[in-house]
């Protein structure tokens, strides 16, 4: 395996998490946008999933904040900034090309802010994020390093799906995907997951009933799976 420091491995993990958080947030907000067309106050449902108090005067303010406000830690813009912050110090690992997709995403999001039709302006972001992952696949030659970023990605996706009460069968598929990535972690690396936390998740994801009733436990166990601290500059 190539030589890579602890800080870079942590950053790879968080790059995966924040890129996925950006992507899933964007998709969830897009769905919310659609539903709000007929019933504008439905956005409170989204806030409830994350236990956020509704301080927004209307759906427009909610959307603006959750899409573009870099100071709102639950916004797409915030997640993208954090993804970029992690990515920029990983250029030689992920490549200039992969990093350029994050810059493009930032520019596209910024442009959409002033667009009269944000949904239409945000559409290219899906292509850009897929491009980013394609570029990651293409440029990270080392399987072990690539797997770190994918573990971050799948943990984040599962976490958000559970919080947003996605249907069991969809979350279950993401769980299987996470297991596959975990199995790729070599036994002799310290980058090992917490087996106790994994057993708890396994139990919850075993049945639809547990999945629907033990959301908080599932989220908490996912959080304990890795003791990877987020790196801030």
């Amino acid at each position: 395996m190539s030589t890579i420091s602890k800080e870079h491995s942590d950053r790879l993990y968080w790059l995966g998490r924040y890129t996925e958080r950006f992507f899933t947030t964007l998709k969830a907000l897009d769905k919310m946008f659609d539903r709000m067309l007929g019933q504008s106050h439905i956005y409170t449902e989204y806030l409830d999933h994350f236990g956020i108090v509704n301080t927004y005067s209307d759906s427009r303010e909610f959307i603006r904040s959750f899409l573009y406000d870099e100071f709102n830690p639950n916004s797409a813009a915030y997640c993208l900034e954090r993804a970029y912050d992690n990515g920029i110090v990983l250029r030689e690992e992920i490549s200039t090309s992969a990093l350029s997709f994050l810059q493009m995403a930032k520019d596209t999001l910024r442009r959409a802010e002033n667009s009269p039709n944000p949904r239409l302006s945000l559409l290219p972001l899906e292509d850009i994020v897929y491009g980013f992952w394609g570029s990651i696949n293409e440029h990270i030659y080392d399987d072990e390093i690539r797997n770190i970023i994918y573990i971050g990605k799948t943990i984040e996706r599962l976490d958000l799906y559970i919080r947003m009460r996605y249907p069991y069968e969809i979350s279950r598929k993401e769980y299987i995907r996470l297991l596959k990535n975990l199995r790729r972690v070599p036994k002799d690396t310290p980058y090992r997951y917490n087996t106790k936390a994994l057993s708890a998740i396994e139990e919850i994801m075993g049945s639809e009933e547990d999945y629907l009733s033990r959301t908080d436990d599932a989220v908490s166990s996912l959080g304990q799976l890795f003791e990877t601290s987020e790196v801030f500059v």
Binding site: S5, K6, E92, T96, Q103, Y191
Partner: protein, 444 residues
Amino acid sequence: MKDLEQKHFTKAVGNANEINELLRRFGVKFGIYKNGVFNEQFFPFDPIPRVITAEDFACIEKGLVQRVDALNEFLFDIYHDKKIVRDGIIPEDFIYISKGYLAECEGITPKNRIYSHISGIDLVQGKDGVWYILEDNLRIPSGASYPLIARELTRIAAPQAFEENEIVDNRGYAQLLKETMEYANCGGIRAILTPGRYNAAYFEHSYLAEHTGSVLVQNDELFVEDNMLYHRTYSGGKTRIGVLYRRIADEYLDPLTFLPESLIGIPNLMEAYRSGNVGIINAPGNGVADDKGIYYFVPKMIKYYLGEEPILRNAPTYLPFYKEDMKYVMDNLEKLVIKDVAEAGGYGVVFGSDLTKEKLEEFRKTIIAEPRRFIAQEVIDFLDLPILDNGETVMRKADLRAFVLSGETTRVWASGLTRFSRNPDSFVVNSSQGGGFKDTWVLK
């Protein structure tokens, strides 16, 4: 020469927006601290290249190789026998008072006796077509990555410009750098040491690491054990580093040798280096050779070490240290440019013509009190280059930073960073002062 740029640039200009869009996409940024706040901004790029004819470049190349070879000889001499001082060519004041002279480097001979592996030599072209050396940068000269990526992207955005002109391909810089690093390698992997993301040139550090296949590291990932430098891996292992291209200043490199308060250095690095177990690019202590005061003596060094006449000229320079030069400086202060030898990056440069009568008198006293601190130069009326400003072509002052790489042989990169002033009244082109950059085309 203006005509040369006009003749060749037209095709590139038509695609200025596309080129800038690509530079944005690829994050070609430059960090600036203003009032203590870090701002990362896109480095303004002008699509009109500087064009150098093959004939001109051949002369520049020869002159730069000669100059850098002499400077490397000088560095070896200064940290060993100091023959050039004993023979009276350079007064010893200029060596020992220089902030760049590091007594801790005495007696160290880097692998293959190369001290300055990557030299950034700043030149300007006078209106008469003559090239002058403005300064030598032998510590951590930055800037090569910008024309490198700009060329790559301009070839995408404006391919016609390259179909119609025969230009020497500059995209081999990373390979040149890799070979240079390997030549200094004492056994192990290649690493580039960065102070971190909030360094002005972080883009360059990471871009060069990516393109030379080096590991980009910060100090806390490194340690010295048994006089060897290692990279601490995430799995708890260690990988030996054979050559370290450091992008931090000498005084911060090793807190046990230099500034003890340095938080970005590696304890005992200098011992590993002194033992010949790791190559450092560029060698610590090089500052003694690119000191603005020493600049005056470089033509003399060329004669002394190589027995040759200098091919490239220095800008006419006066040292107030010498009586006759002091007299000239005092008599002509209002038309000279005065440089504080301790400053860099465009700071500490004062044009006599910009000063009021009172300020001029005040400055005169400072020079008399501290003659070693300043050099004075004639203001070279250097060539203006065309730049695109809101769709209009305007003329601005520009210099050229040429990159000379010393490995098995000394080679000049057939390109360089052309920096220009965006202010019509300014001669200061430094990016830290808000200047922009151009690609530099060398014609075949």
